[in-house]
C-alpha cells in the first residue's frame, strides 16, 4: 500500500485496530441508526392499509413533488463527496463551494418537506388523523430532523473552514460528517420506495 503522507491524509492512528476511533464510532452509530429507522419503517408497514378513515396514501402523496426532492437529496450527496475529495487534496476553495452547495440542497429538501407537511395538514392529514398519518409523520419527521442536524453540521464545517479550524490536516472531520449525510440519503432512498412509490401504487 502506498504510504506517502500528503495533504489531507490523517496520520496512521496508533490504535489496536489501526483505525481511527472516531471513524469506528460513526460507523457504529450508523449501524445503530439502521435499527432505529428499520423499526420506524417496520411500524409503518405494520399499520399500512389499517387506517379506518382517510386521507389515505394514494389520496394525498404527490410523486412528482417528492421525486424532485429525492433528486435534490441525491445530488446533495454528490456535492458532499466532492467536498470530501476537495479537502483531501487541499483545495479549500472547492471544498467551501461543494459543502455550501450540499447545505443549500439539504435546506431545499427540508423546504420541500415543510411544503408537503403543510399541504397534508391543510388536506386533513395530521399525526392524529389515522394510523397512516401517525406513522408517516413519525418516520418522515425523524428523517427530516436528521437532515436538519446534517445541514447544521455542514454549515458549521463551512464556518470552521473560514476560521481555519477545518483544514486539510483534519479532513477526517469532514469525512465523518459526509458519512452521516450519505446515511441520511440512503434512508431516504428506502423511504421514497416504501412509502411513496409502493405506498401510492399499492393503495
Amino acid at each position: 500500500m502506498q504510504h506517502s503522507p500528503s495533504i489531507g491524509h490523517v496520520a496512521e492512528p496508533e490504535t489496536t485496530t489501526g483505525l481511527d476511533h472516531r471513524k469506528l464510532l460513526i460507523w457504529t452509530f450508523l449501524g445503530s441508526e439502521c435499527l432505529f429507522f428499520g423499526s420506524l419503517i417496520a411500524t409503518y408497514l405494520v399499520y399500512q392499509g389499517q387506517s379506518v378513515v382517510g386521507p389515505f396514501p394514494k389520496d394525498i402523496l404527490e410523486i412528482p413533488v417528492t421525486s424532485v426532492s429525492t433528486f435534490v437529496l441525491l445530488a446533495s450527496s454528490l456535492m458532499m463527496v466532492l467536498a470530501v475529495t476537495a479537502i483531501e487534496r487541499g483545495d479549500m476553495r472547492a471544498f467551501r463551494i461543494w459543502i455550501l452547495a450540499c447545505a443549500i440542497m439539504g435546506s431545499t429538501f427540508l423546504g420541500f418537506q415543510v411544503y408537503e407537511f403543510n399541504a397534508f395538514v391543510h388536506e386533513g392529514l395530521t399525526p392524529r388523523t389515522n394510523l397512516f398519518g401517525s406513522t408517516f409523520f413519525t418516520l418522515t419527521g425523524f428523517h427530516g430532523a436528521h437532515v436538519t442536524v446534517g445541514v447544521i453540521w455542514l454549515v458549521s464545517l463551512f464556518a470552521g473552514s473560514l476560521r481555519g479550524r477545518v483544514n486539510p490536516q483534519n479532513s477526517l472531520m469532514v469525512d465523518i460528517a459526509a458519512l452521516y449525510w450519505h446515511f441520511v440519503d440512503v434512508v431516504w432512498i428506502v423511504i421514497f420506495t416504501v412509502i411513496y412509490l409502493l405506498g401510492v401504487s399499492l393503495g
Binding site: 500500500m1 483505525l19 450508523l30 417496520a42 441525491l74 454528490l78 458532499m80 463527496v81 401504487s201
Partner: protein, 103 residues
C-alpha cells in the same frame, strides 16, 4: 487526481469523476423508478422492481459515496451488521403483526 485511503488494507479512493458518474447513475435509476410508477402494465411487478432498484441505489451510495468499497472491512461489518439486525427486527415485527398473512 486520486486520493488515498488513510489506513492500511484499503484501496485508493477513486477520482472525483467516478463520483460524478455514480451520481448520474443514481439520478438515472430514480428517473426509471418514477417512469415505471406510471406504467400500469407493470403494476403486478412493482414490488420486486422497486425493491431491486432501491437496493441498487442503496448499494451504490454505500460502496462509493460512503467509500465502504475502499475502506477497512471492519466498517463494512459494522454497517452491514446493523442492517442485518434491522432487517431481522423488521421481519420479526411484521410477522408478529401478521403482515405476511394478511398480504
Amino acid at each position: 487526481m486520486q486520493t488515498k485511503a488513510p489506513q492500511d488494507k484499503e484501496r485508493a479512493y477513486p477520482p472525483p469523476l467516478t463520483y460524478v458518474k455514480v451520481g448520474l447513475l443514481l439520478g438515472f435509476i430514480t428517473a426509471v423508478e418514477v417512469g415505471i410508477f406510471y406504467v400500469q402494465a407493470l403494476r403486478g411487478a412493482f414490488i420486486p422492481i422497486f425493491l431491486v432498484l432501491s437496493a441498487v441505489k442503496f448499494a451504490l451510495v454505500a460502496m462509493f459515496y460512503m467509500r465502504l468499497r475502499f475502506d477497512s472491512r471492519l466498517f463494512s461489518w459494522l454497517f452491514v451488521g446493523g442492517l442485518l439486525l434491522a432487517a431481522a427486527v423488521m421481519v420479526a415485527l411484521m410477522a408478529l403483526f401478521q403482515v405476511f398473512i394478511r398480504g
